[in-house]
């Protein structure tokens, strides 16, 4: 009964979304004014029904209702509660339902909260949202129904992929989806403004919180996903340039560019068409992100087995979305008036530079990700990996970091080079000093990690410079946000460079009782024991790590065997210290009783994710600061009219 309710709610939500689109289009035509008032309530109702459908799916998973095909294929009655719950979206159909649910809720939020935009622009925005939603509803209802029943219920479910049985699953996919959906809302605003020829600061201010919000979630999703892959896969790496990682990075790059150009539009009324174009690109990238992962044409850990028909459906949808977005942009960009101008040496100029670098990186990542697909169509199999991505994006990322360091120190509209040089002198001095010291004290450091460390210091110093000689109490919240986010980038950069440059690795076959040295640590291999968990058994190694006179650490890496589905995974044991992480993996044993052990000492690796969270936190401060400031005039306006 729950499954039927869910399906009925999904159909109703789809119909309401069609109605939202139809009402929106009719309301904007001459004489359709009477319909203007009907669109907002429809958007709210649509969200309510899709939420019911999603709750129904969660309920089915919590009860492990095996008569539902999706539950039988992806769940198991013996699975821990959290994974039953999160397992609702740890599969293809469920994750698409989550997407459309978030989209519906975002639409309802726009419909009930947004009051600054002209009514017609807002209605066009909601119609655009409905059009995006319809594609997802069609895909769910016709090609991936999550509520399909089985004729005969199996006695037990097939279980969830053990790699996904991790608290990360409850957090990582929804965060990224919030980000993708937020970008689609920003895109809908752009469509609305294009349709009603209303591209200007008001539109930018309405769109900015959604871009910021989406960007915060994408930052969190990427950071969390990186850490999850780092500890779960047991390879000791934090970024693999896997197609799916790229699929989340590309929308982030586009959103970062959009975030900065929307600020120019909101503050200075410049870069109008540019900002709209970036909204189109960011939306296209989030669709590519969602659909490349879901279509299964990319081979990756994330690509659940998907049938080819579904892949075709997805690619058609993708072409429709991106083609439609670009067509609308092409048709209407001529009506967007030029914004106000600026000198090359100015805040705007630096932000243009930022946008260009980000776009270049985006293009390079996109080409590298799609290249294997293109050559495969020509019958040649290639793989594109870290050698390509690091080589090409690394230098541009450093140039971007330099632009990021300088930009906030420039004045809007026009600035003088000599004054800028004076403001940036101290950070450059610090970077030069760091370069000098590193070359002298750390011989053999490769060029990219070396520059990474140097830039991290210089950029870190420069990112604090906007606070110099300022009354810190009166500094607006969004300025704090910018400073913290930029500092976060420097911190993450330092972590990446340090990990790349200074990691120590040992791979040995050892008997219990032996001691292995790695970096400053000496690790004793004490014992191996069999242990048992709720739905797995494991071999657990016990290691004691010592460094200097500090208290020894106990690490217990495991090799786990899951029974349903039968899979082996290795659970790394990681000890976190202030200056880095000791990362240990237990491998296999051989006939002579030796066990493979892989040990890494990774100095300051945690800075990577600390930096990521700082960036997201900075975004949050900026979001709160902006919403707070822009709230006040409206309240005054309402009081005046009351």
């Amino acid at each position: 009964m729950i499954a039927e309710t869910g399906l009925a709610a999904l159909w109703l939500a789809a119909c309401l979304s069609l109605l939202q689109l139809a009402f929106g289009v009719m309301a904007l035509r001459p004489g359709g004014d009477s319909l203007l008032r009907a669109v907002r309530p429809v958007a709210v109702a649509q969200a309510a029904f899709v939420a019911i459908a999603f709750l129904a799916l969660i309920q089915l998973f919590l009860r492990t209702d095996l008569s539902v095909a999706l539950v039988a294929a992806n769940s198991h009655s013996m699975k821990p509660w959290l994974y039953k719950f999160a397992g609702a979206w740890g599969n293809h159909e469920g994750s698409m339902l989550l997407w459309v649910t978030v989209l519906g809720l975002a639409g309802a939020a726009v419909a009930s909260l947004e009051r600054r935009l002209p009514e017609r622009t807002l209605i066009a925005t909601l119609a655009a949202q409905a059009a995006i939603g319809l594609g997802f509803y069609a895909f769910l209802l016709f090609a991936s129904n999550p509520f399909k029943r089985l004729a005969v219920a199996p006695p037990e479910g097939q279980g969830l992929n053990p790699l996904l049985q991790d608290p990360g699953l409850a957090f990582h996919p929804p965060t990224l989806y919030f980000g993708y959906v937020g970008i689609s809302v920003a895109f809908s605003f752009a469509v609305g403004a294009l349709v009603t020829r209303d591209v200007g600061p008001a539109f930018a201010r309405a769109m900015r919180p959604w871009v910021l919000g989406a960007w915060i979630f994408l930052t969190l999703g990427i950071t969390a996903g990186s850490y999850w892959a780092y500890y779960e896969l047991g390879w000791g790496g934090w970024w693999f340039w896997d197609p799916v990682e790229n699929a989340s990075l590309m929308p982030w790059l586009a959103a970062t560019a959009l975030l900065h150009s929307v600020t120019v539009l909101a503050t200075r009324d410049g870069l109008r068409a540019w900002t709209v174009m970036l909204a189109v690109v960011a939306f296209s990238m989030s669709m590519v992100g969602t659909f490349l992962v879901r279509s299964g044409i990319l081979t990756s850990v994330h690509a659940f087995a998907v049938d080819p028909q579904r892949g075709t459906f997805i690619l058609v949808l993708l072409a429709l979305y991106i083609g439609g977005a670009l067509t609308l942009f092409g048709l209407r960009v001529g009506t967007v008036k030029e914004g106000s101008t600026f000198e090359p040496v100015s805040r705007e100029g630096a932000l243009v530079l930022n946008n260009l670098f980000l776009s270049a990186i985006l293009g390079i990542v996109l080409i590298g990700t799609l290249y294997p697909l293109v050559t495969e169509a020509a019958g040649v199999k290639v793989s594109v990996g870290p050698p390509y991505f690091n080589l090409v994006t690394g230098p541009i990322a450093l140039a971007l970091a330099a632009a990021m360091a300088t930009g906030p120190l420039l004045r809007w509209r026009r600035d003088r080079l000599a004054e800028v040089a004076a403001r940036i002198a101290l950070p450059i001095l610090i970077a030069a000093l760091a370069l000098f010291v590193l070359i002298l004290r750390v011989p053999g450091l490769r060029i990219l990690p070396l520059l990474g460390l140097v830039f991290a210091l210089g950029v870190g110093a420069a990112s604090l410079a906007p606070l110099w000689k300022r009354n810190l109490r009166r500094t607006p919240l969004f300025t704090w946000g910018m400073v913290i986010a930029h500092l976060g980038i420097a911190v993450a950069l330092a972590g990446m460079a340090s990990e790349t440059a200074f990691t120590k690795e040992r791979l040995v076959a050892a008997r219990p009782g032996e001691t292995i040295d790695v970096g400053p640590w000496s690790v004793r291999f004490d014992a191996v024991d069999p242990i048992e968990g709720p739905n797995w058994t494991a071999i657990e190694g016990t290691l004691t790590a010592r460094r200097g006179n500090a208290a020894p650490l106990r690490l217990k890496p495991q090799a786990r065997m899951f029974s349903s589905p039968p899979t082996e995974t290795s659970e790394a044991a990681i000890a976190t210290r202030l200056d880095g992480q000791l990362y240990t993996v237990l491998g296999k044993s051989d006939e002579s009783g030796r066990w493979q052990l892989r040990l890494w000492w990774k100095p300051f690796v945690t800075l990577i994710w600390l930096g990521g969270f700082m960036v997201a936190f900075g975004g949050l401060l900026a979001l709160v600061g902006r919403v707070w400031r822009e709230r006040r005039p409206r309240r005054q306006l309402e009081e005046a009219s009351a």
């Binding site: 659940f304 080409i367 080589l391």
Partner: protein, 144 residues
């Protein structure tokens, strides 16, 4: 500056920048993309020396040997042709790695034909098979 001219300037700048990125990417791909070879391809086309490549096929039965250090393995990879590639790998092989099942390895050939793998591709889902390991017919190698 007139607004129109500035907009034109920015447009040209953007196009130049994106074109530059595309050209850079294409030239880097020429050197950095790893092409896929099956044992039959190597026998036909010769060893692709001096660049990272991927090889794939099936791990030959009873060919897996553990070296004395306990962390290095050697095995033979074969395909539907009678050719084989000898592979050496230092590390912990993925859980699904075993004889008579598909394998894809990334690394470099030595002059003597030994393939030194940096990585054995592991996909952790039992439903997942690297497409290269399906033994399907494919052409490989040249993309000039």
């Amino acid at each position: 500056v007139k607004p129109k001219n500035q907009r034109l300037g920015l447009l040209i700048l953007a196009i130049v920048c994106v074109l530059g990125a595309v050209l850079l990417a294409m030239s880097a791909l020429r050197d950095q993309a790893a092409y896929f070879y099956a044992p039959g391809d190597v026998a036909r086309d010769g060893l692709p020396l001096g660049r990272a490549v991927r090889i794939g096929g099936m791990v030959k039965a009873r060919s897996l040997k553990h070296k004395k250090d306990g962390v290095t393995i050697e095995f033979l990879v074969h395909d539907e042709t009678t050719n084989t590639i000898k592979v050496r790998f230092r590390g912990i092989p993925p859980d699904l790695f075993k004889e008579e099942s598909g394998v894809v390895a990334e690394g470099r050939f030595q002059d003597d034909g030994l393939f030194v793998a940096d990585e054995i591709l592991a996909k952790h889902d039992e439903n997942y098979r690297p497409p290269e390991a399906d033994g399907e017919k494919h052409r490989s190698g040249t993309l000039q």
